[in-house]
C-alpha cells in the first residue's frame, strides 16, 4: 500500500456508530459504577503503627536477643489489597510480608541471620504475628500475639498496636 486509499463516505453511519460505540458503553459504565459501590475491599491498615508488648513475655521467647528489640517499636505497613509488607522501624528485623482476611492480619517473621547466635535460636524458628483489628475502637487499633511456630512450650507474647497516622 504505497498511497492511502480514500475514506469511504461514512457520515450516515456516524450517528449509529457513535450510539453503539460511545453512548451505550458510557451508559454501561454508569451501571458498573453504580453496582460496584456494593463491593467491599479489605480493611485499610496501611500506615505507621506503634507496637506495645511486655518485655518479660518477649524475653521468654527463643531468639530473645533480636525479638526483644520489638518492644515498643514502630512498624510501617504498606498495603496492596489483601497483601501487605510490614517493616519494623528498627533495622534489626527484616521486612516481611503478610495478608489480611476480614479483620485478622497474619505475618510470618524470620529472625535476622545474626540472631542464630542467641540461646535457643538455632532451630530455624519462624515467628507468627497474628492480630485482630479492634472493631469497637476502629481500624486504628489491633491486638494479637507473637508466637513461635512449631514450639508447643513457648508461650505467645501478647501485644497491642495503634496507628499513628
Amino acid at each position: 500500500m504505497r498511497s492511502e486509499q480514500p475514506v469511504k463516505p461514512a457520515n450516515k453511519n456516524f450517528a449509529i456508530a457513535y450510539l453503539i460505540l460511545v453512548i451505550i458503553p458510557v451508559l454501561g459504565l454508569a451501571g458498573v459504577l453504580r453496582s460496584g459501590r456494593k463491593l467491599v475491599a479489605p480493611t485499610a491498615i496501611a500506615g505507621r503503627w506503634q507496637m506495645q508488648v511486655s518485655a518479660p513475655a518477649l524475653a521468654a521467647l527463643p531468639c530473645a536477643g533480636s525479638v526483644t528489640t520489638l518492644r515498643d517499636v514502630g512498624f510501617t505497613i504498606s498495603q496492596s489489597g489483601r497483601y501487605f509488607t510490614l517493616s519494623f522501624a528498627n533495622s534489626v528485623m527484616p521486612s516481611t510480608s503478610g495478608f489480611i482476611e476480614g479483620t485478622t492480619i497474619q505475618v510470618s517473621i524470620l529472625p535476622p541471620a545474626e540472631a542464630v547466635k542467641d540461646a535457643g535460636c538455632s532451630g530455624g524458628h519462624v515467628f507468627s504475628l497474628i492480630a485482630t483489628l479492634d472493631s469497637k475502637a476502629g481500624p486504628s487499633f489491633m491486638t494479637g500475639f507473637l508466637a513461635v511456630n512449631d514450639c508447643a512450650t513457648c508461650a505467645p507474647a501478647e501485644f497491642r498496636a495503634f496507628r499513628k497516622n
Partner: protein
C-alpha cells in the same frame, strides 16, 4: 537536610543510566524514552535494590528522595506545559468524523473495560480507604491515556506525521489526553476533599473561575508573545522567563485550589498561541534541559517507587496480565474498530490503534498521581507501570509490521514543505 554529594551522585547515576539504556533501545528500534523508563526501574528496588541492597541504600537513601522528587516534579511541570503547548484543537476539527469517533471510542472502550476489571480487582488490590468509584474511574483514566509526545516522536521518526494516519493519531491523542486529565482532575478533587477536608465547593468554584480567567483573560495576553516573536523572530530572555513564571504560577494556582500542579501547567500550555514556528521555537528553548536532565530524574523517581517484587505468585501475575490485556484490547481494539467503522482501510486502522496504545511517560505521570493520593496500592502501581512499559514497547515493532517504513514516504515527500506541529522531543534521532 540536603546532602549535595548524594544529590549530585544520584543525578549523575540517573543521567548515565538513562543515556546508556536510551541509546541501547534506540539501536533496538525503540524510542529513547522507553530505554529511559527501563533505566528508572533498574535503579529501583526491582533490580538494583534486589541484587545490591547496600549500594541501593547508599545511592538512594530514603531521606534523600524528597529532593530528587522535587527536581523531577519541576521537570514534569515544565513537560506538561510543553505537552499542552503541542496540543492544537484545530487539528481535531480538520479531521472530521473519523477522528471524533476514534478519539471518543479510544477513551470509552478502555474506560468501560477498565471499570469491569476494577470490579474484579477492587476487592483484591484495593482497600476500604478507597471508594470504588474513585478506583474504577482512576483505572479507566489510566488505561485510556495516550502518550502524546511519544506518539509524535514515533510518527516523526517514521516520517508519518503528515500522513492521514499521523494527523488523525495526533488529533485523537490530544483529545484523549485532555479528556484523561479532566477525569483525573475530578478524581483528585474528590479524593483530596475526602482525605484532607478541603472544601469541595471551593475547589469546584475555584477551578471554574480559574479556567474562565485563563481562557478569556490570560489567553489574550499570551498572544503578545506570538506578536513579539513575529516581529523579531525570537523572544528575549525576559519574555522566556515571564512565560516560565506564568506556567509555574498557573501550576501553583491549581495546586492551591486543590486539583494538582500539573493541571495548571498543562492548561497554560494549551492556551498558548499555536502558530507552528512559535510553538517549535518555545519547545526548543525548554526541551533540552527537560528531556536530558529533568525527565530522567522523574523516570528514576518512578523506578524507585516501582517494586516488581510486589507482584509475586501466580495470582498477582495473573492480575498483571489481565491489566495489560484489558488495556491493549480497550485502546488498540477500540481505536481499530472505530477507525474501520469510519471507513478507514483496515491496515491504517490497525496502525492507528497501535499508535493509540502507546502510553509511555504520560501514563507514568498519572500513575504517580494515583499513588500519591493513595487511590492505587503499591502492587497495583507496579503492575500498571509494567503495563505502560509493555504497551509502549510493543508500539514500534507492531507498527513496523502493520505499516512498513516506506508506506507513507510518498505522501510525506509531497507535504515536506509544511511545518510539523512540534510536541516535545521530536528530534528524529531521538536525542
Amino acid at each position: 537536610m540536603l546532602n549535595m554529594f548524594t544529590l549530585i551522585l544520584q543525578i549523575a547515576m540517573v543521567l548515565a543510566a538513562c543515556r546508556i539504556l536510551g541509546s541501547l533501545f534506540l539501536k533496538l528500534g525503540q524510542p529513547r524514552v522507553v530505554g529511559e523508563m527501563f533505566a528508572g526501574i533498574m535503579l529501583g528496588p526491582s533490580l538494583l535494590g534486589a541484587i545490591a541492597p547496600h549500594w541501593s541504600a547508599f545511592l538512594f537513601p530514603p531521606a534523600s528522595l524528597g529532593f530528587l522528587n522535587a527536581l523531577s516534579q519541576f521537570g514534569v511541570v515544565i513537560f506538561m506545559f510543553l505537552v499542552g503547548l503541542g496540543i492544537n484543537p484545530r487539528e481535531l476539527k480538520s479531521q472530521g468524523h473519523a477522528a471524533i469517533l476514534t478519539s471518543h471510542v479510544s477513551i470509552t472502550a478502555p474506560f468501560v473495560l477498565a471499570s469491569f476489571l476494577a470490579v474484579y480487582l477492587y476487592p483484591r488490590l484495593s482497600d476500604s480507604g478507597v471508594p470504588f468509584t474513585s478506583f474504577a474511574l482512576f483505572m479507566g483514566a489510566a488505561m485510556s491515556i495516550t502518550a502524546f509526545p511519544v506518539l509524535a516522536r514515533i510518527l516523526t521518526e517514521r516520517d508519518m506525521l503528515h500522513s492521514r494516519l499521523g494527523t488523525v493519531a495526533i488529533a485523537c491523542a490530544a483529545v484523549d489526553d485532555v479528556t484523561g486529565w479532566c477525569i483525573l482532575a475530578y478524581i483528585v478533587l474528590f479524593i483530596r476533599a475526602a482525605n484532607t477536608g478541603h472544601p469541595i465547593l471551593f475547589t469546584v468554584g475555584g477551578l471554574i473561575a480559574f479556567t474562565l480567567v485563563m481562557l478569556y483573560g490570560v489567553q489574550r495576553l499570551l498572544k503578545r508573545f506570538e506578536s513579539l516573536y513575529r516581529q523579531t523572530g525570537r523572544l528575549s530572555e525576559n519574555a522566556i522567563a515571564l512565560m516560565l513564571l506564568l506556567a509555574l504560577s498557573s501550576a501553583l494556582c491549581t495546586e492551591w485550589i486543590g486539583i494538582h500542579l500539573l493541571f495548571g501547567s498543562f492548561l497554560m500550555g494549551a492556551i498558548m498561541p499555536k502558530e507552528q514556528k512559535f510553538v517549535r521555537y518555545i519547545v526548543e528553548k525548554f526541551e533540552t534541559i527537560v528531556v536530558t536532565m529533568l525527565l530522567p530524574l522523574f523516570f528514576a523517581f518512578t523506578g524507585l517507587r516501582t517494586n516488581i517484587r510486589l507482584v509475586k505468585g501466580p495470582e498477582m501475575w495473573m492480575y498483571c496480565v489481565a491489566i495489560i490485556l484489558v488495556a491493549t484490547l480497550g485502546k488498540l481494539g477500540g481505536s481499530v474498530l472505530a477507525c474501520w467503522w469510519s471507513g478507514m482501510p483496515v491496515r491504517e486502522a490497525a496502525g492507528l490503534g497501535t499508535l493509540m496504545n502507546t502510553r509511555g511517560l504520560m501514563e507514568l505521570i498519572i500513575l504517580n498521581i494515583g499513588l500519591d493520593i493513595k487511590v492505587i496500592s503499591p502492587a497495583l502501581f507496579s503492575m500498571m507501570v509494567l503495563m505502560a512499559l509493555v504497551t509502549t514497547f510493543m508500539t514500534s515493532p507492531l507498527l513496523q509490521a502493520i505499516c512498513p517504513d516506506k508506506m507513507f514516504s510518498r505522501q510525506a515527500e509531497k507535504r515536506s514543505g509544511q511545518l510539523a506541529v512540534t510536541p516535545l522531543g521530536l528530534d528524529p534521532a531521538g536525542d
